[in-house]
């Protein structure tokens, strides 16, 4: 059986993709930003292991316990109540000390842990116990930032993915078929984009308690609108290219043509758009939380931290922490976005081209 059809690892990606990857890597700021962002996100994914109000592992009376995964009643550790053990309770701590040991996470507080052993009024400034201080309810700010970062990024990821699917689908159908489909679709999206999102959310907040998925759903209804124009324009252009015509002449079905021939070329404009959708999603979530129309109270949200900073100007660590974490996250994303945009910009490739000799077919080009 002839083997040349199988592709090697280097041949997995088309040459254009490989060249773009090279350009992106050559942009040091974007490349470093990507790594920092990825590292931060990876860390925040393991937030439960880093900031939690339960020990990771403990040994009590010769028995192993995993409080992180299993809820043990307090009676297990010599308490009187059959409720879930509170490991911050001095009595429980003393019991554990006496009968074994416990391995605590780096930050022994979760995002909603109220520190009952505080000697100072909340909000308390940073010290050895709370590295970034506590907020006005006595919760650890660092723990809230870590969880809040994860929540924001996760929200933005899902929202971006959802918008991408809807935007590409709707824009693609409009652009590929053109004519009446396009005309009607365009008018409908225009009307739809006229709906005021913020008011919808405020109205919604008055009769349901908007949770994570509620917010996501509402935002998703509108966030794809920006993508439609880009994707539609790319599809409109591509549908008259000769290889798309050739595919039509071959008798392929429209979905197959769109998927295999048009979409890969429209993805350039779309991918360039993604980082900006992403930052937009984070900013919107933060703004809603700041205004109080966002996630339910108690959720670890950066917007709520900003609001606390504004309400407690005498506690500057709140405002400063919110500002630094938000601006760091958004700057990293903007740098990554810039790098992506340049990588996909054909005019940019010449400037960023590596000093390798030109391909030998330049002569007979």
């Amino acid at each position: 059986m002839a083997a040349p059809l199988s592709t090697t690892l280097a041949g997995r990606f088309s040459p254009i993709t490989r060249r773009r990857f090279g350009v992106f890597r050559a942009n040091r700021r974007a490349w470093v930003s990507l790594w920092i962002f990825a590292a931060l996100f990876a860390v925040s994914l393991a937030a439960e292991l880093i900031a939690n109000d339960k020990p990771l592992v403990m040994k009590y009376d010769g028995q192993w316990y995993l409080p992180l995964l299993v809820d043990y009643p307090e009676t297990e550790f010599g308490g009187f109540l059959p409720t879930r053990a509170d490991y911050h309770d001095p009595f429980v701590q003393a019991q554990i000390e006496e009968h074994g040991w416990a391995l605590w996470p780096l930050i022994p507080f979760s995002y909603q842990t109220l520190d009952m052993q505080m000697m100072r009024p909340s909000p308390a400034p940073p010290d050895a116990r709370h590295w970034l201080g506590t907020d006005d309810q006595g919760r650890d700010v660092l723990a809230r930032v870590i969880y809040g970062f994860r929540l924001s990024v996760f929200f933005a990821l899902v929202l971006t993915a959802g918008s991408l699917v809807m935007g590409v689908l709707i824009g693609g159908i409009q652009g590929y078929f053109g004519g009446k489909t396009d005309l009607i679709g365009q008018r409908l999206t225009e009307i739809w984009s006229g709906l005021p999102v913020l008011f919808l959310l405020i109205i919604l907040a008055s009769f349901v308690q908007p949770g994570f998925w509620w917010l996501l759903g509402i935002m998703l209804l509108f966030s794809w609108l920006g993508l439609v124009d880009v994707v539609r324009a790319e599809f409109l252009r591509a549908r008259n290219l000769e290889y798309v015509r050739a595919a039509k002449a071959m008798g392929l079905t429209p979905p197959l043509i769109m998927w295999r021939h048009v979409l890969p070329n429209a993805m350039v404009a779309t991918l360039t758009f993604i980082p900006f959708l992403f930052t937009g999603a984070i900013t919107t979530l933060t703004a809603l939380d700041f205004l109080g129309f966002g996630l339910p109270p108690g959720s670890p949200s950066l917007g709520e931290l900003v609001a606390q900073g504004k309400n407690n100007l005498h506690a500057p660590w709140l405002g400063i922490t919110a500002f630094v974490s938000l601006s760091l996250m958004l700057s990293l994303l903007v740098f990554i976005g810039e790098g992506l945009r340049d990588a996909f910009d054909p005019r940019h490739i010449q400037h960023a081209a590596s000093p390798t000799p030109p391909p030998r077919n330049l002569r007979d080009a």
Partner: protein, 535 residues
């Protein structure tokens, strides 16, 4: 130091151009006298344009230009910055290939030409306008007073090229560099433009460097010719001598490259494809409350029939409706009238039934760069239709057929995993042919498959297509503006003009004794060499 005759206008001594250590032009020496046209001939990539641009210092910074270059008694190698500005557009005029992009779309004709006048002669206002008008008359543009204020998009390709020429001669240059000035134009317009250039050359006593790949044009419009191959000068001499007794083997190859021979005679059986009163109309946009303007007739109703194994050539200039006809027959554009393919009425089919029929008639497009998806490897491109229409085929069978088809179109088998950009234009066209024939169609629509290729490559492709036809009994609908290629391919021809059939009949009969004036003009402009292959 070679001796200089006073008449030498441009002199290049051992001109060498290199890009990042890759030598593109190797020791080219040539002279142009006043009032003389020197043609620089070669295929694409032979370094024709690069040597002209290099001599005039118009190459990007990574190019290294060496050797002596003199314009009159100015040493071009010593010119710096500002000196060049006076020279280019002043003593040397340029006419480029692409009339669509070489004019600024946001400037009127008067402003474009006026700019060179202002820069080099300091003419402004009324004087500049007067001189511009004079120039438009010189290049024989109709209605010069109106055209002064016309925008580039209002002009046809030929008119734009005339404006470019007016700009080039605005400052009475000594040397005119015309880089493929007519390649983008229709053949009949080509002839007028070249005649105009010759007339202007004689009137102003200019020297002309005429860069082209088309030997037919050289034969008729140049005094001396210099043949380039891969950056090396092959031979230089008076046109008549070089054409009559070429010294270098490459020149002989080039002269010999006109597609020749005739297709094998086809049997006249029951027609495979028949169209009856097939026409295409494009609706014009309607304004609010206004009556809809009459539709644009891109193709007036016509009848045609193609027998199995037969080639019908469709000939015409741009805008004549050739491609529209092809798209209508392929059911890729809206049309009216009957199309019968074999037993099926194609015009009545749609959706799935139409898609099932599609494998029986395939298409090869003109642009070898645009017709292959840049993101798929060749094996995927070729096998796509096969996998779609025959999903039951096993992977090994698909691979086997791809290999067999690649062999059949003369491509090495190892190219299956490579991407289109790694191939030359001729090879890409072979890939496109492979993609079409792997479905074992009964008919191929070939829409200008050879026009983007060099002559020598054209000849090979024509041979391949004829060979495939003989082997597989394919019918071709062959669209081209190039009569030499049509003669080598078609059994019968149909001449289109503005969407209407001007003339049709047996290929040789039409080309040798055209009945209509239009066909006669086409045949005359094509300058077909009289020798005919035996069919």
């Amino acid at each position: 130091m070679p001796e200089t005759s006073a008449a030498d206008l441009l002199r290049l001594d051992d001109l060498t151009v290199a890009f990042d250590e890759v030598t593109v032009v190797d020791r080219l020496s040539l002279r142009i006298r006043r009032g003389e046209t020197l043609a620089l001939v070669g295929e694409s990539g032979s370094g024709k344009s690069v040597s002209a641009l290099g001599a005039m210092g118009l190459l990007p910074d990574n190019a290294r230009v060496e050797g002596g270059r003199w314009l009159g008694d100015t040493d071009l190698a010593r010119l710096r910055g500002r000196d060049w500005q006076g020279l280019r557009g002043g003593r040397v005029g340029f006419v480029f290939q692409e009339p669509m992009t070489s004019l600024n779309p946001l400037h009127t004709v008067a402003r474009q030409i006026g700019e060179t006048l202002r820069l080099h002669q300091g003419l402004t206002g009324r004087a500049a306008r007067e001189r511009t008008r004079e120039l438009l008359v010189q290049v024989k543009l109709p209605r010069p007073d109106e055209l002064l204020d016309a925008w580039p998009h209002q002009l046809s390709g030929g008119q734009r090229q005339r404006v470019m020429i007016a700009m080039a001669i605005a400052n009475d240059p000594e040397l005119l560099i015309a880089d493929e000035p007519t390649t983008a134009l229709d053949v009949t317009v080509q002839r007028e433009i070249l005649a105009l250039l010759a007339e202007l050359r004689d009137r102003h006593g200019m020297g002309m460097l005429f860069i082209t790949h088309d030997l037919n044009l050289v034969r008729r419009h140049a005094d001396r010719v210099c043949v380039l191959f891969q950056g090396r000068e092959q031979e230089t001499g008076p046109v008549a001598e070089v054409f009559a007794s070429p010294l270098s083997p490459y020149t002989r190859l080039l002269l010999d490259a006109e597609p020749e021979g005739r297709p094998a005679p086809a049997e006249r059986g029951a027609p495979l494809l028949q169209a009856h009163r097939l026409g295409v109309r494009f609706q014009r946009p309607k304004r609010l409350f206004a009556r809809r303007p009459p539709a644009f007739e891109a193709l007036r109703p016509l009848d045609l029939a193609i027998a199995p194994g037969e080639t019908l050539g469709i000939v015409g200039e741009s805008g004549s409706g050739k491609t529209t006809l092809a798209l209508a027959l392929l059911r890729l554009t809206e049309s009216h009238g009957e199309i019968t393919f074999g037993e099926e009425r194609l015009d009545r089919l749609s959706g799935k039934a139409l898609r099932r029929q599609r494998r029986r008639f395939q298409v090869v497009f003109q642009d070898p760069y645009g017709s292959l998806s840049p993101r798929l490897p060749v094996s995927e491109i070729i096998s796509e239709g096969l996998r779609f229409h025959y999903p039951e085929l096993a992977e090994e069978e698909v691979v086997r057929r791809v290999q067999a088809t690649l062999r059949e179109v003369g491509l090495p088998e190892d190219c299956a995993s490579r991407y289109p950009h790694e191939f030359s234009g001729g090879q890409r066209q072979r890939i496109a042919v492979a993609r079409a024939i792997i479905l074992e169609p009964e008919m191929l629509v070939l829409d200008e498959p050879t026009s983007a290729l060099d002559r020598t490559v054209q000849k090979q492709l024509v041979a391949l297509l004829r060979d495939l036809q003989a082997r597989r009994g394919l019918s071709y609908l062959f669209i081209s503006h190039d009569l030499a290629v049509v003669r080598a391919m078609a059994h019968r021809v149909m001449v289109l003009r503005d969407g209407e059939v001007v003339e049709q009949g047996e290929c040789l009969a039409v080309l040798e004794q055209p009945r209509s004036d239009y066909t006669r003009a086409l045949v005359a402009a094509a300058g077909l060499s009289p020798r005919l292959g035996q069919g």
